[in-house]
């Protein structure tokens, strides 16, 4: 339904930010994201708007669950 992908914040100017994925840059809006992102953060971008910040700690925690639950070493 909703195509949204993680992009890295390169620069923030007021309500807009410059983001990149794979070296492709784009300017997005920060009107609807609830917490102010910082340069270097990944945000989930949909239709030119940041929806939310991608929480790296939570991502690691999810992967750790697999590691423990499945007895698999992460590469």
């Amino acid at each position: 339904m909703c195509l949204a992908i993680p992009m890295e914040i390169l620069k923030i100017e007021g309500k807009t930010a410059e983001v990149q994925v794979g070296g492709v840059r784009q300017t997005i809006r920060l009107d609807v994201i609830s917490e102010d992102p910082a340069v270097g953060d990944y945000v989930i971008v949909h239709a030119g708007f940041a929806l939310s910040r991608l929480d790296k700690e939570e991502a690691l925690a999810t992967l750790k669950l697999f590691q423990e639950g499945l007895n698999i070493e992460l590469t």
Binding site: M1, C2, L3, I5, M7, Q20, V21, G22, G23, V24, R25, Q26, T27, V45, H46, A47
Partner: protein, 333 residues
């Protein structure tokens, strides 16, 4: 700023000035300079002929322009039949008001592309139409080449057991053009791959005795061309997704627009399908050429699903890779 006027297509003095000062200057050669009604050509054996009409928006884009594209595109089509492209014809339809400097840049670029490919523009035509009747400039080129292999490659000749090779990164041209479109504001460090492939193809065909299919995946991209081949040869093309060369910039740009690089246009790529025993040699030849550094074997020809292209994903799953209905549009869903 000097602009192209309707007079330039009138056949009068203005037309003659355009021919002398622009076309002959950049494209001139012994055949064209005669300025007869037709060109007298000296060709031997079976010939390969192809025609294509080029429209592109914008007309200048990173990595090329409509002029270079009009040469490369037709040269490549002629070469895919196992031929050495030799001659081009060229027809321009120009919108009144096009800056003369733009036209000169386009024609100069065509001249350079033709010299690089080793082909000559031998006859041409120019029409100027009132503003709004065409978008800036359309170019038609027809190419003629001499076939130099006994059994020309063809989309009908893919056979089970063949390897499927491609000479490098997929989707560069499509993304480079898309990045210039109005309404899509993004900045992609990607250039069009537009290039003439005839020299590389000649080296390949001179070294390898059996090449079944050569095809350039232009509009519709890799996926569409593979589907055409699978259909013509009534075989299955099985492609391994993680072996397809795609630049991170191209997959990045595609990711947020909701596009698939496998359906993006290429202008300097070709698919080569040949018996598996020659695959390694062919890859080495490609990789030794600047236009084939990133060549890869991306799949094999099988017979399980005749007429279909089956993609094997990095997870080991499979899915169908179908033809698209029309051009890909950026999407939110």
């Amino acid at each position: 700023m000097e602009r192209v006027l309707l007079d330039y297509g009138s056949g009068g003095k203005a037309s003659h000035r355009l021919i002398g000062e622009l076309f002959l200057k950049y494209l001139g050669n012994a055949y064209l300079n005669r300025l007869d009604d037709a060109a007298l050509l000296d060709i031997h054996g079976p010939i390969s002929v192809s025609t294509d009409t080029f429209t592109v928006d914008p007309i200048f884009f990173p990595g090329g322009d409509i002029g270079a594209l009009a040469v490369h595109g037709t040269v490549n089509d002629v070469a895919m039949l196992g031929a050495r492209p030799r001659f081009l014809t060229c027809g321009f339809i120009i919108e009144e008001g096009l800056p003369m400097a733009d036209l000169e840049r386009i024609v100069a670029s065509m001249g350079q592309a033709a010299r690089d490919a080793g082909v000559m523009v031998v006859t041409g035509d120019t029409k100027v139409v009132p503003k709004g009747m065409v978008d800036k400039i359309f170019i038609n080129t027809t190419g003629i080449g001499e076939v130099f292999v006994p059994k020309p490659p063809s989309g009908h000749r893919a056979a089970p057991g063949d390897a499927i090779l491609v000479n490098g990164f997929i989707g560069d041209h499509g993304l480079a053009i898309l990045a210039q479109r109005e309404g899509l504001t993004f900045d992609a460090p990607v250039c069009s791959d537009c290039a003439s492939l005839n020299h590389l193809i000649a080296r390949l065909l001179e070294a390898i005795p059996e090449v079944h299919v050569l095809r350039d995946p232009t509009r519709g991209g890799l996926a569409t061309t593979l589907n055409e081949i699978a259909g013509q040869s009534q075989v299955e093309c099985r492609i391994f997704e993680d072996r397809i060369p795609v630049r991170p910039e191209v997959s990045g740009g595609c990711s947020f627009l909701g596009l698939d690089p496998l359906y993006l246009a290429n202008e300097g790529k070709f698919l080569c399908i040949l018996p598996e025993q020659y695959a390694q040699q062919a890859l080495e030849i490609m990789r030794s050429d600047p236009l084939g550094h990133h060549a890869a074997c991306i799949g094999i020809v099988g017979q399980d699903h005749p007429g279909k292209v089956v993609l094997q994903t990095p997870l080991g799953g499979t899915r169908l890779m179908d033809m698209l209905e029309g051009e890909q549009l950026p999407r939110i869903c």
